[in-house]
Amino acid sequence: MKNLVLSFILLASSLLASEVNLQTPSTTLKSYYDAINEGDLLALKKIMTPQSYDTDIQIYALSIALKDKRFHQQLKQYNSSAQAKKNVEQAVKKKLKKRNTRTIVIKSERKLGPNRVAVKFTEDSKNRQLYFSHHMNIWQLDYLAGRTIK
């Protein structure tokens, strides 16, 4: 019975977790928005390069830090304290879960080099673009991949 309950919990968590598909830049983009909309930071870590992930977390944390001095101190230690990073991530997770879901429509993919692609899309009808790089057979969101390589 205990095993059955455990299996059910595992199944339910896997169904609730964001579906991560990193096979193409566009599927990675969709996975990114699913993860952002659900506040699924574990998925985000798979979807983004580590530097890009840290960038997102710190920027999403900024609005909280501007209103909360204690949290501000935590954010200052994001890169030097594992506990502070964890606290910041928890706060960002909560914030993302409360955020309105954004609707995205993919418009085009543009190759920027052998292992990088820009995807143009709209987010709630506003023009957006994100960059992706290819590593180990997956496409990850990579803010540093915006340079065209000929």
Binding site: H72, N79, G146
Partner: protein, 179 residues
């Protein structure tokens, strides 16, 4: 002064610090690694956040000349960053960041929106946003020049000197506002 301010002293780098190369030596070579070129291109995009923030806050508080004065200088920062990209052959043709307050990269839009929301609360908040942006800029540039060739370091040092002037201007305006 820092402790008095709700937003100042937040030294967590917004973008660039997280994206920095790890080298510690200033080199004098005339070629950059792919990672350094990528960083240059990102800094170019990031500079626009500061300029657009000042343009928007300057429009909100038109009596505060500090925003108008500094936004011109921020345009020069963007031009210098773009010039470096050109010098080193870092192709920025995929980037279109012409419209004020509009960013193609969603997280830069989030950053801009956060700063404007804070600055919209009051004139003093807007000045503190300016102070915050400059503190962050200086911190970012100090990290960005690590491992870069001397001409890049020179440009970054010039940018940093500009940011220090801007920081002094914002602090002076904050003091004047408080007095």
């Amino acid at each position: 002064m820092m402790k008095k301010l709700a937003i100042a002293g937040l030294t967590t780098a917004l973008l660039t610090t997280a994206l920095m190369a790890q080298g510690k030596t200033v080199t004098t070579t005339t070629t950059l690694t792919g990672e350094q070129l990528d960083t240059l291109v990102f800094i170019y995009q990031e500079e626009k956040v500061a300029r657009d923030t000042y343009i928007t806050l300057g429009n909100m508080y038109s009596n505060q000349t500090v925003f108008a004065n500094i936004q011109l200088s921020e345009q020069e920062h963007i031009d210098k960053a773009e010039g470096l990209c050109d010098t080193y052959g870092a192709d920025t043709s995929a980037i279109n960041e012409d419209n004020v307050g509009e960013f193609e990269i969603p997280v830069l839009q989030e950053l801009y929106d956060t700063l404007i929301a804070q600055g919209s609360q009051s004139e003093l908040s807007a000045l503190m946003v300016g102070e915050y942006v400059e503190i962050t800029d200086i911190d970012d540039l100090e990290h960005a020049e690590i491992g870069m060739p001397s001409d890049v370091v020179q440009v970054y040092e010039n940018l940093k000197a500009g940011s220090l002037n801007h920081l002094a201007a914002f602090r002076s305006a904050i003091d004047a506002y408080n007095n």
